[in-house]
Symmetry: C2
Subunit: 294 residues, 2 copies
């Protein structure tokens, strides 16, 4: 059975584990803080790879940033590793084949092969966290676009330049529906700049009217985006993951989406896999690539 | 060389012609008014098919409505043929194989094989007319979704229920960027319920300030949608066709889209083929299907 060393590179943490070709994690999961300095990030990669490369058939990175269609390079990224990341020759880090894919794409693929969207050829996965990531599976394949950057959830929720997005543009889905988005909606509706997502969720759970209204505005912004995605992709499922997904009412979203779309009925569900879906998806995709499938 | 009888079914006109496997129209184009009565529509199909079926290898329909993934049936439609259309067994109309595809998908495919997006594997085509149609090519294939309904340009431009869309939902891209959308934007900004798209275009061409402002609002709504589509699909090209596309400044749209997207640079261009792209695309797809390619 083929095995991959899976390495999940996030803005704050790097995880690694050995994953077999069926998606099972077969080693202990190691966790490192993401170094601030890019040279130190590469050193972390190297030490992890040296330790495990003899045991595995392929090195599989799940990473922030867009990955090219050959799965060899990062073509763009954000945050502290932005500048150096696209220059890196990942294959030089190991004598085994090295495979890269975007983390949201990896998570979408893991859910497709072993999780919530198993058996469905068309799905949209959203990771609702500090930001919002997207991975789209169309006809049983990852939607990558011309350079591998497809699936960015930066489409506009309004056109009057109301809220600046982290991407530099205005009024993207991400800046309304992420955790950050919930806080900003809270600030707008409460006139309290110090409000936190915790205040909103707690207040809503305790029946506070204002906090409930803030939460519902946020959830209805998610709904508005899902309607558009359903009309564009006609998916079987929309899968929600990430730290903010736990607060969402998927029965409500399923019902309301299906009321308004012009395409065919779908379900909104929560992801089945937890924190390690990035590693699992990267490993499954890397093994698939070894086997010559795209 | 394989040949198709191509039949393009629109809400007001039905066109037909014989098209060869390279996309050349090799007969005179016939034009019929679309009958009001569904039985008469079927009679028109039958008489056209009887006349030409012995000359061709396949019957290729380009039609309004969503077409299933087997290209055999309409799964949903709008307008006067809505109710009966999904019940129709199209194969019963001819002894030759019968193939159907949605008209915007056909137009997108015709541009991909022989027109503006030739040589590019990833493109989004928008038909800006009375309404707005969409056809998406991803990785060299039509994006169809689970039931063939993908590519509907009904994503929201705002979330405050400002303008009702023809689809029954609120504030879709279509109801801001179609010809109807231009008129509605004109009504809002001029307080004149009798304003026409002609008034707006003529006024803008003559330097009228208000008409120019209306036009620019409309064009910037198109821009806002294109930014979202570019971030979702990372396409090589966005192709604009339809009667309203002639008024749009594609250099402006290309420049402004590329300023704001997080994916990689693309071009916004006008379609190369004119009125017959539906027939040409249907014929090319039907021949492809005869040859066993999906």
């Amino acid at each position: 059975m083929l095995k991959a060393l899976a390495i999940d590179v996030g803005g704050t943490k790097i995880y690694n584990a050995v994953v077999d070709e069926t998606g099972n994690i077969i080693s202990e999961v190691e966790k490192h803080s993401t170094p601030k300095n890019y040279d130190d990030i590469i050193k972390t990669f190297k030490s992890v790879i040296e330790k495990f490369e003899d045991e595995v058939d392929v090195i599989a990175f799940s990473t922030c940033g867009a990955v090219n269609n050959n799965n060899t390079r990062i073509i763009g990224s954000t945050g502290n590793i932005a500048k150096e990341y696209p220059k890196t020759d990942f294959q030089s880090l190991s004598k085994k084949p090295v495979f890269l894919e975007n983390d949201a794409n990896c998570a979408a693929w893991a859910e497709f092969e072993t999780g919530a969207s198993k058996g469905y050829s068309n799905s949209v996965m959203l990771t609702l966290g500090t930001g919002v990531g997207g991975g789209i599976i169309a006809g049983g394949k990852l939607l990558k676009g011309k350079n591998g950057a497809a699936g960015e959830m930066h489409f506009k929720m309004r056109t009057d330049k109301h809220r600046k997005c982290t991407c530099g543009g205005w009024d993207c889905f991400e800046i309304y529906t992420s955790g950050t988005g919930l806080k900003l909606t809270g600030e707008e509706l409460s006139n309290n700049p110090d409000i936190t997502t915790y205040d909103i969720i707690e207040g809503k759970n305790n029946g506070d009217k204002l906090m409930t209204a803030i939460f519902e505005r946020w959830q209805n912004d998610i709904l508005a985006g899902l309607i558009g995605l359903a009309n564009l992709f006609d998916p079987d499922l929309i899968v929600l993951s990430g730290s903010m997904a736990q607060f969402v009412d998927t029965d409500y979203l399923t019902r309301e989406v299906n009321k308004e779309i012009v395409t065919t009925p779908l379900k909104v569900v929560k992801a089945a896999l937890k924190n390690y879906s990035g590693m699992i998806g990267a490993a499954l995709l890397a093994v698939r690539s070894l086997n010559g499938k795209s």
